[in-house]
Subunit: 407 residues, 2 copies
């Protein structure tokens, strides 16, 4: 009976409509080229390996597995979906520095990426509007897209998302269900949302009834400038829903996959219910390790100080090299925290075209198009991470980038 189908054809009949229409990102395919020997990568958002304190982690794991002989096996056993008590209590204490938070108000997640995904699934009906800042974190775009959201991107600048523009869209009839924002050291732009705009966002959320997801993986990585009140703190006492997402990935270790979420009861409860079927719970061992690492407040403070000073130095090296060598051809703002510098070409360079030339010259970045909702924007921009490489390698990387830049 005709040709025999191969396994791919047979199994693709079993995909849902959405999966069979979601095309793999061409940028992702491009980024596979990053991991080649000899390529200095400023592409990934990877913390410096030297910033991951393996010695302290090893000591803590031994203590977690040894503890009274009883906690040991507990670290290997099933745990509650919402997270283990020691971690939830510890996080509540930490978050209470900003806003009073109970352990019961915390859902531990498998990285904050899971928090985003659970929230998208808990809140989005197909066609619901989600507002994001453009450019935007790719992982957030993916979670919202898979949930069927219509994503509306509002441009940002050095002060974060353009709130006037958002207000105008809302006045014009835009009815978002969710606004997603990274207020501190935005990925990919490094921008810090200004205080004025934070206040306006909360007012708009109250007036128009959307809720805010405030994703804050980089807040602790501030190495210049004063801290600003969080969006959640600005929302206190107002009838607004604000969900905060946090992560151990940038302050301890991404490989542990521990994040957390706190916010209004119905959303938290719904996210928790979805987490039951998503992965039952987050690794018990990882949770207890993070709880124990955070428990030693002095050591953690010293650890954060080390990371901040290291990233300050690296960000400075990157800014200096870019300013000295590409100054007239690019625009960028020296970052005040986080892990990223956003560079925009002033000479018409297309960064997707630049990418393979850069790889040939032994340096990698992420083309701006990767952070575009439709995959076609920001063709003149690129993201550089200053977290992964030391200053010397950063300078060599920028020199290689300049070589590649010349047509």
């Amino acid at each position: 009976m005709g040709t025999i189908e191969g396994p791919t054809e047979i199994s693709s009949r079993h995909l849902s409509t959405r999966m069979s229409t979601l095309r793999p990102s061409p940028i992702r395919a491009l980024l596979r080229l990053v991991d080649q020997p000899g390529v200095l990568s400023m592409a990934g958002g990877l913390p410096a390996l030297s910033a991951l304190d393996a010695d302290r982690v090893r000591a803590v794991i031994e203590s977690v597995l040894d503890h009274g002989g009883a906690l040991g096996p507990t670290a290997l056993q099933y745990g509650p979906t919402e997270g283990v008590d020691p971690l939830r209590r510890r996080l509540a204490g930490m978050l209470s520095a900003e806003l009073p938070t109970d352990a019961d108000d915390i859902l531990v997640t498998t990285g904050s990426q899971q928090g985003l995904d659970l929230l998208a699934r808990a809140s989005i009906d197909p066609g619901d509007v989600v507002v994001v800042e453009a450019p935007s974190y790719l992982g957030a775009l993916q979670s919202f897209s898979v949930a069927g959201a219509r994503i509306v991107a509002i441009d940002g600048d050095h002060d974060g998302i353009d709130v006037d523009r958002l207000a105008a869209e809302l006045a014009g009839g835009l009815r978002p269900k969710v606004l997603y924002v990274v207020a501190n050291f935005h990925n990919p732009t490094g921008a810090v949302l200004s205080l004025d705009r934070r206040i306006r966002l909360v007012e708009l959320a109250e007036h128009h009834g959307f809720f805010i997801i405030s994703d804050d993986p980089y807040g602790e990585l501030r190495f210049a400038g004063p801290p600003l009140p969080s969006i959640a703190a600005l929302g206190v006492g107002r009838p607004v829903s604000i969900v905060r997402l946090g992560s151990a990935s940038k302050i301890l270790a991404p490989g542990l996959r521990v994040g957390w979420m706190t916010g209004p009861p119905a959303l938290l409860e719904a996210a928790g219910r979805l987490k039951q079927s998503a992965d039952l719970h987050t690794s018990t061992l990882s949770q207890l390790v993070v709880a124990e690492l955070l428990a030693d407040e002095g050591a953690q403070r010293a650890h954060l100080d080390r990371i901040r000073s290291r990233y300050r130095e690296r960000a400075g090296a990157l800014s200096d090299a870019l300013g000295a060598d590409l100054g007239e051809r690019v625009d960028f703002s020296p970052p005040t925290g986080g892990m990223f510098t956003w560079v925009t070409a002033l000479d018409g360079t297309d960064t997707v075209e630049l990418f393979p030339r850069a790889i040939d010259h032994g340096v990698a970045f992420v083309p701006g198009a990767a952070f575009s909702v439709d995959g076609g924007g920001f063709t003149g921009s690129l993201r550089l991470s200053f977290a992964t490489l030391d200053p010397t390698r950063i300078r060599i990387g920028v020199a290689r980038l300049i070589e590649a830049w010349r047509p």
Copy 2:
């Protein structure tokens, strides 16, 4: 204007339609009562704490964190979505004992629960039919329900799902997209799907074009009877899609949250794409620990032998106690592997009503209704786990159950 809304009312407006219609399970609320001091629990599917080899895990973690000084930080760093190479290679070797499997054909998941959830999201359009065996694993029902599936339950017996009944439904026009099956030591019934039924299932899948999810967390826990060929092995060379789900939870440690999936390319690729936004990747530390534990094949074989002989002893103690004391009032089959015994009352006892009395008497089980698609079936049955308690406690537990049984 008017009354001020509380945070719950505000945030519940932000739920998606599906979440606001999914009601929390009353059985789950009941099961919160299990964790009371003094209650001997045969409710949870928790491996014996003594079966979790914390010493071996500690040694392996030290080796993972020490390894050449370089692998240490790697265990704490971001990793690829599909899983780290050492684990994928190790799993491929292990699975190849049954069916040739490449490392590239494996997607590592955050427990096999995540595998189920990703598959449900990758394949199900709202209204698509999923066939399950009744009673069924609650976590599977949740994942399929959240994805919008219409779940059709086909009764099972001591030989697993009733394939004649399924064939009749298919002949009558039932058009499932997926069939979900736990062929070895089913949860909750402990049944092993007979060879004849395995063969028929594969034929039906081929003829009617549905795909099979073969979930096998308990296959290695056989302590009596001969092994049977897997459904995947029976499907070789036929134009059928069969996805295999595996898990480290019952053979090593559930707290690590490591599972795996292998199957046809399109489904695997789609599940991997969803995993990017679901949690980026599974804990790198957990993956490397599992890879290292499995690498010592002699130690792992000895470990499995110990678990099997421990569970054999406990299953025997449970069967003996049930037979001696409740023999005339219940029906059950002595299990040949896995972790569970399914007990059905012959005297009209309602196990949801029995539950609070049992808790009062200091023993816990899971009422059969927890495994029913509509939450209302199997009111005369209950699930007992023989994995968690030692034989003495199992005998005391059964004695307490009998006390509670008497009205």
